[in-house]
């Protein structure tokens, strides 16, 4: 019986993090639900036990149903029948199994039939689903659209849609259009108020919409006639039951082939408004995107896990020159680095998820009562960390997924290039992860602000204060040196940038990467301190890798003149 939770000690370790107690406290609010719902926890231990049990179910469905279906889904793919999407047969079975397992609405409050679990647990579930089938994770993971509805919509809208998400209906976020991809301010899909029917009417076209024929769609549309920028955009919900949207085509993609990427035509489709007009892009898409980016970080981590395991298994089984190839240094070094990158992705992912949980939950509480001064402080603190860490997590995890998938094929040798092994699918699936929900280059744009504002530096200093084990001490010292390097190159970049506009922009990825490598190394050392047997070896491997990357980036910056900005201009 394959179980992607029980076979993954690292995932279980992250659920036992001390911050989980605070998260549960905020999520359960004095365990008031225990009197109302027979499945609500009585106390912190009970809640944690329930999380473990639910993740155990997810792990089993992933191992027993979704993973075995993945190859068939990749071959079969979805198709358009009568203007609607028909999923591959394996996808249909996956959805059935998840509905039977009651895994819709994982993070939604119980009053909407949800499981009221933290974002951290949802990310864990997403990671396992992605390990089983990355393309399917898109369809299932989109249930986090419901979080945006829960945060910003009226009670009436919440009551209409959220229980349906809990029952397993799928979601979509309809943002991009042919001429509005990374630049969402250019969205033109038109929303007009139909006074007679008392609904908004949507007209226009959307492109590259993941699961575009989902049951419940969040649509970014232009409600303010005559406007041309972000300020004229609002967020609306389109209900598939109402009709009015046709799927014109499904894109033929390199990977994640089971996930239907749709081109949609809206023809007077009725819709309801979420929150305030004109806040669509500025406020709600930002919330959606942050959740989606965390989702891609989870998806990427799951893919790395799958690719690493495939490579490890092959390297143990494949014999050449009379011994398994894992016994050759060149192969085992690759495997060790792949393992370290997978653990690193996960460490950063769940550190971020915990920050998001605390911030989000305090924010929810603030809608019901005014927060105490201390709580306001806490919310602000974790909001900033969540904002700073989300682009880092998305960027590192998705880049690592690509690297690990690449190396997985390399370890398979010629066989890996054939369609016979899962590694080729993983490689194709990984390729989108550092592109969608904001390319790596756009994550850098979000993250560089936190280099400037000092979010990363302050957090690095906090990590330096944490107690560490004897065995990790030399590495902790090394990390302090890196922090000094980081401060020095940042100072250099800031000062040259004053005279030469564009210099900081030019080096932004290098700065963000240095900060990221220091942060992840701290997380790895924290784990190694707590659990030497499991983590000391991969922590050492990762720190060696990070040392190389930091030295390279720092050397580049230190040797870079102001004139480099001109050198690289098109």
């Amino acid at each position: 019986m394959a179980n992607f939770y029980l076979d993954n000690k690292d995932l279980q370790y992250h659920l036992s993090h001390p911050l989980m107690k605070r998260i549960i406290e905020l999520k359960e609010r004095n365990f008031a639900d225990a009197k109302l719902y027979d499945y609500a926890p009585q106390d912190t231990e009970d809640a944690l036990d329930s999380y473990r049990r639910v993740l155990d179910i997810v792990g089993e469905v992933c191992g027993e149903v979704i993973a075995p279906n993945a190859e068939g889904v990749d071959h079969e793919g979805p198709r358009v029948v009568n203007d609607h999407v028909e999923y591959a047969s394996g996808t249909v079975r996956n959805i059935e199994a998840l509905i039977e397992a009651g895994l819709g609405g994982m993070t939604l409050p119980r009053k909407y039939d949800g499981l009221n679990m933290p974002v951290t647990c949802f990310a864990m579930a997403n990671e396992m689903v992605a390990r089983a089938d990355a393309g399917f994770e898109n369809i299932w993971g989109l249930q986090d659209c419901a979080e945006t509805i829960n945060e910003f919509a009226t009670e009436e809208i919440k009551e209409r849609f959220l229980p349906r998400v809990s029952a397993g209906e799928t979601c979509a976020m309809d943002l991009t259009e042919p001429d509005a991809g990374s630049d969402l301010g250019a969205v033109m899909l038109k929303a007009t108020w139909d006074e007679a029917a008392g609904v908004w009417r949507l007209n226009g076209c959307k492109r590259f919409i993941t699961n575009g024929d989902g049951d419940i769609s969040l649509v970014l549309a232009r409600t303010e006639e005559g406007t041309k920028d972000a300020r004229g955009l609002s967020m609306l919900i389109y209900d598939k039951r109402d009709g009015g949207v046709k799927v014109r085509r499904i894109e033929n993609k390199l990977g994640i082939k089971g996930s239907p990427t749709c081109e949609l035509v809206f023809n007077n489709a009725p819709a309801v408004l979420v929150g305030d007009r004109k806040m669509g892009l500025i406020k709600y898409v930002m919330s959606l995107m942050n959740a989606a980016r965390l989702g891609i970080a989870a998806q990427s981590t799951g893919l790395s896990e799958a690719a690493y395991r495939e490579a490890l298994k092959y390297a143990q089984e494949r014999e050449q020159f009379g011994k398994p190839i894992i016994q050759f240094a060149a192969v085992s070094e690759m495997l060790k680095n792949m393992e370290a990158k997978t653990l690193a992705s996960r460490a950063l992912l769940y550190e971020t998820a915990r920050f998001v949980d605390i911030y989000k939950q305090l924010n929810h509480i603030s809608h019901d009562r005014s927060l105490e001064a201390e709580e306001r402080q806490e919310m602000k603190f974790f909001n900033r960390l969540a904002d700073g860490f989300t682009p880092l997590a998305k960027m590192f995890a998705s880049e690592y997924a690509n690297e690990v998938a690449y190396d997985s094929i390399q370890i398979h040798g010629g066989s890996g290039y054939m369609k016979d092994y899962a590694c080729e699918r993983l490689y194709r699936d990984a390729r989108i992860m550092n592109i969608y929900e904001g390319t790596t280059q756009l994550q850098v744009v979000a993250a560089i602000n936190h280099v400037t504002k000092g979010t990363y530096l302050e957090q690095i200093m906090r990590y330096e204060e944490e107690a560490r084990s004897e065995a990790t001490q030399p590495m902790s010292e090394q990390l302090k040196e890196w922090r000094k390097t980081y401060e020095a190159v940042q100072a250099r970049v800031e000062s040259i940038d004053k005279e030469c506009a564009g210099y900081k922009d030019f080096h932004s990825r290098r700065l963000v990467e240095i900060a990221g490598y220091i942060i992840i190394s701290h997380l790895m050392l924290r784990q190694a301190s707590e659990c030497e047997a499991e983590y000391l070896n991969p922590a050492k491997v990762f720190v060696k890798y990070a040392a190389k990357k930091i030295a390279e980036a720092a050397a580049y910056i230190n040797a870079s003149e102001a004139s480099d900005v001109e050198l690289f201009k098109a």
Binding site: D38, S50, V54, L115
Partner: protein, 291 residues
């Protein structure tokens, strides 16, 4: 009041013999239960799924699990509740120890007389004994019609059930009056997964004897929530003839167990060409390996 159809699933906790390692057997030739994980007998899970489908179709029905075994067999009932069963009965006591299929079916039939179900569903056979006798014997003892090798529930109403049976050379669809005993084949639909809310709801459920060792808080918790109490039946609760229980009721005696290791003596390599496959088929049929 609308009639509630009472469905009882017979389930057994068995050692997981599917991934047998070197220590699976004791030197005496009996199953080393300590080395093998205790699991829900696989075909009993198929039976549970069919019972739950019956409930889905009828609407007003309950699905309960009856299992005979030691205290830890209550795990099977909890697992069934996680997957959709409403409750269960643990038939437990030292009187039942050492039962063969005859004594087991006798004990179960005594309990079933007391429970009085409309439909009894069981797995075809258990992976530890592989006899496929208990279901049919229960039917005989209760004087009920039986449908064996059930693969698919075709239809069900208050008075009869239509079942597709998997046979060696095909399938047949039969109609049986109710009450009846149905034994379900491993080729039937796999059991639905555990359900998140049900797991959270039922995770603290305990059978009576488990309650005895639980702490006071747990006891009080279960007393407030009767659905968490798994009914436990002792021998005295089901009015049996003591002679027919356990060892004294078991005529089967295992004389000798031999450990057979299969070994391929020769290997042949065939291409995926039709001609090669054809030749292989002819050989297998001629040698009575197939057909």
């Amino acid at each position: 009041m609308e009639k509630v159809t009472k469905i009882v699933v017979l389930a057994k906790q068995v050692p997981d013999t599917r991934n047998v390692g070197k220590d699976a057997m004791t030197p005496e030739g009996t199953v080393n239960r300590a080395a093998l994980e205790a699991i829900f007998n696989p075909e009993d899970l198929n039976a549970l799924e069919m019972a739950l489908q019956m409930k889905d179709r009828i609407g007003t029905a309950t699905v309960e699990v009856l299992t005979m075994g030691p205290q830890r067999a209550a795990d099977v009932i909890r697992e069934a509740m996680f997957r959709g069963a409403d409750g269960g009965y643990l038939l437990s006591g030292r009187e039942f120890a050492g039962s063969d299929t005859l004594a087991t079916s006798y004990a179960l039939s005594c309990a079933l007389r007391k429970i009085n179900p409309d439909i009894i569903v069981a797995g075809r056979q258990a992976i530890d004994g592989d006899t496929a006798q208990v279901g049919p014997q229960v039917a005989e003892k209760l004087n009920l019609p039986q449908v064996t090798y059930a693969e698919e529930l075709v239809d069900i109403n208050d008075t009869e059930v239509t079942i597709k049976r998997r046979l060696e050379r095909g399938a047949e669809v039969v109609v049986s009056p109710l009450p009846a005993v149905i034994t379900v084949n491993g080729s039937a639909k796999e059991c639905r997964p555990r359900n998140a809310k049900r797991v959270m709801k039922f995770k603290y459920s305990l059978a009576t004897s488990e309650m005895a060792t639980a702490d006071d808080a747990r006891k009080a918790f279960i007393q407030e929530r009767p659905y968490l109490h798994i009914v436990e039946l002792a021998a005295a609760d089901v009015n049996p003839d003591p002679e027919q229980l356990g060892l004294s009721g078991s005529p089967t005696k295992v004389k000798k167990i031999e450990n057979v290791v299969f070994q391929a003596k020769e290997a042949k390599k065939l291409s995926a060409e039709d001609t090669d496959i054809e030749a292989l088929m002819v050989e297998l049929i001629a040698g009575h390996t197939l057909g």
